[in-house]
Symmetry: D2
Subunit: 351 residues, 4 copies
């Protein structure tokens, strides 16, 4: 009953198998092998256009280098006030983008409210020398709150970014989960709606270490090879990342794994909704659930071996958390088993 995080899971057997196969041969290093190049091309197919792809080691690296590539002096990046880039990356995006500023934008359920974003950007008209200049809007899909921007919401955000003359970045640490939940295509969820740069995460969804930065317009990425090397993110045996992506895309494995994780989350949600001991903190749509659980159930579950995190109560939460309750986060993954979900539900139902 591991619901602590999707990065507590291991790696999917198909990923492993592909890695094994790759490990027995020699190939050119530093991203120049045929496999590296073949997988970069595979991204073109996935995104239905020529994109520029750069493998990096962590999601934080993907986000940080994306920001680095659009850095301006006095630059300001706009993100949701609870975004991973501002709250959970120890300042890495600031560090790599030459000391830019991350400006939090409020909005319910982990999503920037367009009018708040607009107002935040409007504080920095051209020539605001003492205040700085907008350089990027970054959104998270799926969000840290387990919610998803629908396609029109993405368009609304991107229109504001375009209006301000800055690119739009999407932190897709859980890109596959969002994609599956929306039942749409990578192209539709990104460049067709105005996304310029994507942090494409695969580690949480069955790989052991596979992240990529995807530029919808390769011209934007001309300096990225230098940025990546200068940032210590050019791996010598990078083809082992390429190999993971190879298996990841094979027969739509990635979508299948994300669909499983989402289904497990739905099963949890349905079970908990039907229970007397729990209620959803807010509607979630991907593989993260935020649940107000009675403390007795939480204790019982933990005693039975379940792992999950307590979560700080947002100050704008609508229904208050009672004294005998606590807010918890439950995350499912490709490796979550139905039986674990059912055990957890049984304990909560019983307590």
């Amino acid at each position: 009953m591991i619901f602590a995080s999707d990065n507590w899971a291991g790696a999917h057997p198909a990923i492993n198998e592909r890695l094994m196969k790759e490990s027995t041969r020699f190939a050119a290093a530093y991203g120049t092998s045929e496999l590296d190049q073949a997988i970069e091309k595979k991204f073109n197919k996935v995104f239905e256009r020529e994109v520029a792809v750069f493998f990096v080691g962590t999601g934080t690296a993907a986000n940080s280098l994306a920001l680095a590539s659009v850095a301006r002096p006095g630059g300001i990046a706009f993100c949701h006030s609870e975004a991973h880039v501002i709250e959970d990356e120890c300042g890495a995006p600031i560090y790599f983008s030459n000391a830019s500023r991350l400006m939090p934008v409020a909005g319910p359920n982990g999503k920037m409210l367009p009018k708040n974003l607009k107002a935040a950007i409007d504080r920095f008209p051209p020539g605001s020398i003492h205040q700085g200049q907008p350089m990027l809007v970054t959104m998270t899909q799926a969000t840290e709150q387990g919610t998803i921007y629908d396609l029109d919401e993405i368009s609304a955000i991107s229109e504001i970014a375009k209006g301000a003359g800055v690119p739009l970045h999407m932190d897709g640490a859980r890109f596959a989960n969002a994609l599956t939940a929306l039942d749409t295509t990578p192209a539709e969820m990104t460049w067709k709606r105005g996304v310029d740069i994507l942090s494409f995460g695969a580690t949480k969804n069955g790989c052991w270490c596979a992240e990529a930065i995807v530029y919808m317009d390769p011209k934007m990425a001309e300096d990225l090879p230098f940025i990546r090397k200068r940032s210590a993110q050019l791996f010598s045996k990078t083809r082992f990342m390429a190999a993971q992506f190879d298996a990841y895309f094979q027969n739509d494995l990635w979508l299948e794994l994300a669909a499983h994780a989402n289904a497990m989350a739905n099963r949890l949600r349905d079970g908990l909704s039907a229970s007397n001991s729990a209620r959803l903190a807010w509607p979630t749509q991907s593989n993260e659930l935020f649940v107000v659980l009675d403390k007795q159930s939480a204790k019982a579950a933990r005693d039975a071996g379940a792992s999950f995190y307590d979560w700080p109560v947002p100050h704008d939460m609508q229904q208050p958390v009672g004294e005998n309750e606590q807010l918890i986060r439950l995350v499912t993954s490709f490796a979550t088993e139905e039986s674990d979900v059912d055990s957890f539900l049984r304990i909560c139902g019983r307590a």
Copy 2:
């Protein structure tokens, strides 16, 4: 006949097997799992003292974060003029150490000459506000030229560093190869001779991605957890690195693999020395050979599928390279097969 680089090799089966085993289970992320901690303890045993260990993704990251951890304003790090940190990492060590300066120190065969190092440091006495202040000496073991500092040479370097009040870092991308060649212990080759920080590389020696920064005095590393996260080098499934190190140390696999690579280099050396078509550019002692080969042999070898790099002729090379010759680099690895060495020698002998 792949002699291009040791990072063209894949991964050793024992490493793979251990990774497979790890992939089927859940475990805590970001370096907090029991396995991570157990492997960190294994380093204590390897180094015969309590050390602080941090896994990172690339050798450049290990070097760069080592420098970052000792950064001073106006800081200057001293390295050999051909060192990887100054010549091959696109400025990453400068970047991560808050814009320090890398000062090249000359010396034959890839090794800093102690008197040159001393003179270089002496240019920056305390209070050299306009020039900057020494912050680190960094040496490479084995060097980029395939040579090795013997233990007394390490002591000579460390005494100068100590005298200047700065720590000594060792870039050990090929640590195991040097260790094996010197037939000494990790403790003897590092802290017993005054090394304070070590970039401990395993990727080139049979892992697919396993690098560590080792602090001989854990107190020096107090800020490293933040530096690593801020530098985008804290991997979520870092236990997959730990697993590689687990297999790497098991039954001294790492020493065995390095010994094999060195033996293959020796076999190449002996064969080429006996040949009329080649001579050693300078004496090398690990798994890298620099050879002056007649162009006909070089072409024949490449036509037969051999891969290796041409190398720029150092300006201080003693015996000139003739018109019909070229300087090449040959690198062996854990995966180099004796038959490939012999094929290569046969071609060179024949041409």
Copy 3:
């Protein structure tokens, strides 16, 4: 009728005279002259203890280098949400402190509320590797809203900083104005209340370019000479700054000038309070006034040559600004003449 800012004023005749005298002689450069050292000693007397003093060219430099000197990886500095460091310095404090994060702390009238500061810091307990680590609290005295922390309020802030193990910095761009308004001593307003580092501004109060960073404990400043040079803030003819400070402290000129500026602000305040066309937006105590003025008066004053800035209405302002009103800022200085104040009041009274 220049009320736009105190940095629109020129320089006081006594400052000029001293500069003239200095200009005719030779002296050692880069802060090593006897005058430089004598003035540094004068600061000891002013602060009643041995302090370390560093002249720099701008208030932004003073603040930024102060932050640089306490930078930690993943470091977080806490400031009021409207502080100059976060809102008006184009990210310089972030830039010079190696990409730290500035965390806004709310509080009425430009002052951090201690409980808000405490809560903000408490979000980052030791070991918050993903979030970062507190490195500094910085307060502004007088504040950007023209208010002043009284001595007990300074103590309350410093106790929280001490409790978190971080130093306390004071942005004293208008230090003299605050000091005079509180009728206290520099020692009392700083180190006796727990301030560790001070940006000591003199430019706004009669100098043309004289700013200093003052460390109450010189040991904290050991790297500052390198930081200052590396930051391009070591002036060759720095003795011309020293000369300004010489005249500034002579016969308490600085206190006299600040008292004058404050008196002019009081005169404005009293006059406007008595008027039907204006009211104070909030109580201010130094040389900055924030006034809600009827638009007719504002226009009449501008038509008559008055200069002042419109000010954005804070979202937490208690009495709303009416449709026929606007919020303006009025700043007085050493150079403000009583007759200008009276002319302005007359116009506002008449309109």
Copy 4:
């Protein structure tokens, strides 16, 4: 007999007078006053084209911000191996240009030899991801060795820079001295010969603090306002710098002052050349002289109150420095008096 440095001099009376006049009035801050703008226009006239001008506080700032404005990831700037930017600015140019690398280029008499520059740049062809990419060539005029690039030599350097697709910067800390010595025009010595960015120094030539960055093509400077503010170099009362430049250009004062300094250097040179106790270390052409003096004379001069610096003997110096000799540097300025020169010569002649 102050020959230590031209920045030991004070300020010229005409500069002072202009500052006094400026000090009595109010004007807009942060470079927006009419005077600031008028002086910026004056630079257009001086350079015979529309240029972009930015006042900063130090020569190090001018150089560093120039580099910052052309920074690339993994960027490399090429300079003479003895240049101020690499040897005397505590790494500031590296720091402000986002951790670029400064690559020393050798050449006699403080001047980069074109073929050496070409060879240095050629080491970094496009796509040298592991090594970095050229971003700038920077030359010093007059050089640190007191020599001057003639116009054809400037063209030779600029052609190489253009060929590599990188801009050419000139560190003109002693621009006026070089200009006067060459008897040419600012336009001719800069953009007509391919210089793109100029650090225009006036502090050493009679101002007390006046430095400017001049972009020959204003489009290159679009981000400079943000860079300058972010670098803490936007002075509030910047019009006091403008005022200095106003007087500096008035009636060609600047050329007159530089001509005087150069004449004093020539007088020193002629006198010392005729003496038995001294010889020129190498030919110099501006206001810096490098002289091999017998130790007795040096002591006698110092005993008589002369101040000057001993200088390290360059390793490629042609005539060795004898045991009874020492290499010294003598610098003249606008404030050097003929009588001091003659006293110095008398002492040397006598000893």
